[in-house]
């Protein structure tokens, strides 16, 4: 057993607990601890990616109880990749937050660390019930982070977000209960074996439980019928929190990949590929709705929140296609879209801070304190998120378009994705020109230009830009990830062997 697997959960948990109990620590010490813990997380994630890239599955039996009786953590290429994406995003978000956003309310850093613990746990767990538990950990931290700093708009968005997610938790438990009642196990690999061997009657019930789970994951991932909570919540959150939330929708998508490829995948008999029929149309409609929302947005933050919805739709389309090529392209796009949305939330906050009362609203405002610097950042970010060359969003979309077989699917995906990209660009140019060009003459006295914040935002943007020069090794990793996901044999052997490696 490799104890490194539990580190991404333990590290933020210990740091978070310390931050919670050691209230006497000065603010500088709290910030240092939080940044160090996030930095440590990044190092552990890099190491885990290298470990996972060996091609083997690593499992960690908590308390040394063997699967399927105990609870396991499971590390494969996909979970290692997600950990790394989270750690990079979190590092820049926390670096941005230490420049002052963490003092707007209490316990920012403790909450931030617990949020990371929940996210990492959700990516690592190999057990459905523990997925629920980690979801709850990340959710309760996210509730508090969303409301951090207070204010009417945050409370208003928070009530919707919390109530919807509590309902989602109830549905999750019903689905988990049904699965346990039928299969007698909640270990994902074991469930895959049991579903494959289920009798037709049981298979129907398992299918119902699976679709119920799809509703829950859909709520987390925010695709079409369940995305209405997202724009308001993301637009209301403070900038570092909104940046960190860029990974939240991806947790839902990750769970969809995990559950519907492993448990309800090819081998599942009469309920094989359960979700595919639903995901495909929902993905395309999500892109359409997201783009329309972006065009209609009245604030910069609202515009970005709808672009999150667009990226969810794009990723979902890649997952729904169900081929290794499409999945590999979707994973590349996932890394890109997570970082670029995070970076843009930070950049837009920089801009809002120099516009006084008008903040992020898309109306003519005062001249910016640092027009050139912010325009360049916004311009690069906008081009990258709209999917234009020379940045990684273009490559991700291109790969996705090429992964579609010629036919009806291509006929639908190509226009939706390309027109969506064009309209995204329209929305972004309208927003950018309003905020950056059509300004008044005078700079606002209250405008603040903080080079620390700018550096954090630019750093995350740089990570996105770097995705392109490093695209070749990244893509070979993504290809290997997709191949590993679709090769179900090793996962199933994890349980039958019974021996944690």
């Amino acid at each position: 057993m490799n104890h490194a697997l539990i580190m991404p959960v333990l590290l933020p948990m210990i740091a978070g607990s310390l931050l919670l109990f050691a209230a006497r620590l000065s603010l500088a010490q709290q910030r240092l601890l939080s940044v160090l813990s996030t930095l440590g997380l990044l190092l552990v994630s890099v190491w885990l990616v290298r470990l996972a890239d060996g091609g083997q599955l690593h499992s960690y039996a908590l308390g040394n109880w063997q699967a399927p009786f105990g609870i396991v953590l499971l590390l494969d290429r996909l979970s290692a990749l997600m950990l790394l994406v989270t750690a990079v995003l979190a590092l820049f978000a926390v670096l941005y937050a230490v420049r002052g956003d963490d003092t707007r309310g209490s316990s920012f850093h403790a909450l931030f660390q617990f949020q990371l613990m929940g996210i990492n746990g959700a990516f690592l767990t190999g057990d459905l019930f523990n997925l629920f538990v980690f979801f709850e950990i990340l959710l309760i931290a996210s509730y508090a982070l969303l409301l951090h700093g207070g204010g009417g708009e945050r409370v208003r968005a928070g009530i919707h977000y919390v109530v919807l997610n509590l309902l989602g938790s109830s549905l999750f438990l019903i689905a988990v209960g049904m699965m346990y009642g039928i299969a007698g196990t909640l270990n994902m690999a074991d469930l895959a074996v049991k579903v494959a061997a289920a009798s037709p009657d049981d298979a129907a019930l398992m299918g119902a439980a699976g679709l119920l789970l799809l509703v829950v994951f859909g709520l987390k991932a925010a695709f079409l019928p369940m995305y209405f909570w997202l724009p308001r919540a993301y637009a209301a959150a403070s900038a570092p929190v909104a940046a960190l939330f860029a990974i939240m929708t991806k947790i839902g998508l990750y769970s969809i990949m995990r559950v519907y490829i492993l448990i309800y995948g090819e081998q599942a008999g009469s309920i094989a590929n359960l979700a595919a029929d639903w995901l495909w149309p929902l993905a395309l409609l999500t892109i359409v709705c997201g783009v329309l929302g972006a065009l209609a947005a009245v604030t910069l933050q609202g515009l970005l929140a709808y672009l999150v919805v667009v990226s969810v739709g794009t990723l979902l389309a890649g997952i729904a296609l169900g081929t290794p090529e499409a999945l590999s392209a979707a994973l590349f796009y996932l890394v890109h879209s997570t970082w670029i949305t995070g970076a843009l939330f930070l950049i837009v906050d920089l801009i809002s801070r120099q516009r006084g009362e008008k903040a992020g609203r898309l109306i003519q405002g005062p001249a910016l304190l640092q027009p050139l610097r912010l325009s360049v950042l916004f311009f690069i970010g906008a081009i990258a998120i709209a999917g234009l060359p020379p940045f990684s969003g273009f490559l991700g979309k291109l790969l996705l378009l090429r992964a579609v077989e010629p036919g009806v699917q291509a006929l639908l995906l190509w226009p939706v994705l390309l027109l969506g990209g064009l309209l995204t660009l329209v929305a972004l140019s309208r927003a950018g020109s309003t905020v950056l060009w059509r300004t008044g003459r005078d700079v606002l006295g209250s405008a603040e230009g903080d080079s620390g914040r700018t550096a954090a935002a630019a750093g995350l943007l740089l990570m996105v830009v770097l995705l392109l020069p490093f695209a070749a090794p990244l893509l070979s990793y993504m290809d290997a990830t997709a191949a590993q996901l679709f090769d179900l044999g090793p996962y199933m052997q994890l349980v039958s062997a019974g021996e944690p490696s």
């Binding site: 409370v155 919707h160 938790s169 109830s170 209960g177």
Partner: protein
């Protein structure tokens, strides 16, 4: 026993969903609570309904499945914390927004 249990669950769930669809925070919270009761009972029943069977191996010839009981305990703890949070949040909403409507503003009459 199964029928009675199922009817209880059904009534709890239906009441919970009805209350959840109200537009004021207090009924919504009550609805969430009823729903979580129903879910906890449902989870518990997934170990099958039996009487007089301890959840410990060796005490009697047959034993109940202990895992759903552990799951229910976890779910109760989490549900309790979440309910406390949503209660505080709705009180905060009442204070900040001066309304208990779930949208944070009174609908236009």
């Amino acid at each position: 026993m199964e029928a009675l249990f199922a009817v209880t669950l059904g009534i709890l769930t239906a009441s919970g969903v009805y209350l959840l669809l109200r537009a004021r925070t207090f009924p919504v919270v009550m609805g969430l609570i009823l729903l979580s009761y129903a879910v906890n009972l449902f989870l518990f029943a997934m170990g099958r309904l039996q009487t007089g069977m301890p959840a410990v191996i060796g005490r009697s010839a047959e034993y109940a499945d202990p895992l759903p009981q552990a799951l229910v305990l976890t779910a109760i703890v989490i549900g309790f914390a979440m309910t406390a949070f949503v209660l505080v949040l709705s009180l905060r909403g009442l204070g900040e927004l001066n309304t208990d409507h779930v949208d944070g503003k009174e609908p236009k009459a």
